[in-house]
Symmetry: C2
Subunit: 211 residues, 2 copies
Amino acid sequence: MQIAIVLYDRFTALDAVGPYETLGRLPGADTVFVAERTGPVRADTGRLALTADRTLADVPSPDITVVPGGPGQIAQMENTVLLDWLRAADATTTWTTSVCTGSLLLAAAGLLQGRRATSHWLTLEQLRRFGAEPTGQRVVTDGKYVTAAGVSSGIDMGLTLLGAIAGDEEAQAVQLLTEYDPQPPYDAGSPAKAPEQVVDRLRSASRFVMS
Amino acid sequence: MQIAIVLYDRFTALDAVGPYETLGRLPGADTVFVAERTGPVRADTGRLALTADRTLADVPSPDITVVPGGPGQIAQMENTVLLDWLRAADATTTWTTSVCTGSLLLAAAGLLQGRRATSHWLTLEQLRRFGAEPTGQRVVTDGKYVTAAGVSSGIDMGLTLLGAIAGDEEAQAVQLLTEYDPQPPYDAGSPAKAPEQVVDRLRSASRFVMS
């Protein structure tokens, strides 16, 4: 089963690496990082690059697509090469997935019309522009479309999808291998739980990077 | 504050990316991925490479070191270039840290003698060989040494250390930005919680990759 994880300039690294480290451990998976061009692709901080081993054109019909989010998503909303590839790949995928603002790219490609979906909490409402119905859930499955909320939620999505494809025991084995027994030192991982001043601070900052 | 994240052949990607995506968002952080040679470094699956932007020699005195684990750790236990660098860097760090079997590299460099530490649950007892005291905690702080358990625990470590350095609100902001509100679909993330047959399966498989 071929899993294509899409990279583009200024993606968020954990959005891609969460599903890679979980779903990518599906037995027999042929996981491949793809981008418009092969070679290093810089993440949003500028401090890390992941290698795209194949171009989008090299991988026309993956079984699963994974689209990460990040500040670079905004520029990709107008990138017809990527949007055309997402549509063409979707014609043959068994699962089309995203993490964080990656869902806005699926939506811009017209793939989430009339579907329930999620995104980073700061951009959730933008899904409506493309005819999708935003939900506050962390992982949303609607048919073959699986969208995850912000950044770290790709780990939960990866395990969920791994379980759906290969069975509970396979997913539990990967959860144990990656020792995913989360113990965050704070309880501030959603706008409903974080202190109000922290939520306000991110809302203010996001005006400059998310529109 | 310079944060050096060490890469080596067959590291586990999430071990490195968890702290990068959390601790690396420390205001003013100069995060740099380092390895013996610059360029792409392949992770344990062979399906992903992260770029080392600087050599170890380029970054002799970081404020924080982060050492990931992975199957490649075993070969590094004899790598005097890396072990010498870890010791030299440690002479001036304010924090020396690891994720997963990265703690065995710190231990092999002689840095955990007489200290409490942790590692991936499958390799925890190996810490004793180097005079460290293994604990079952997910994140262990002993002086300036912070070690985290397997793979995904680097996210918890990154937030913990971020809070210690920059204060609770800064860490909460990063937790909210990365939407780290974990909702794993299973409760199998530690050997105490996973089904017995899953634990047994990983113990059997690990005989070939961890020794």
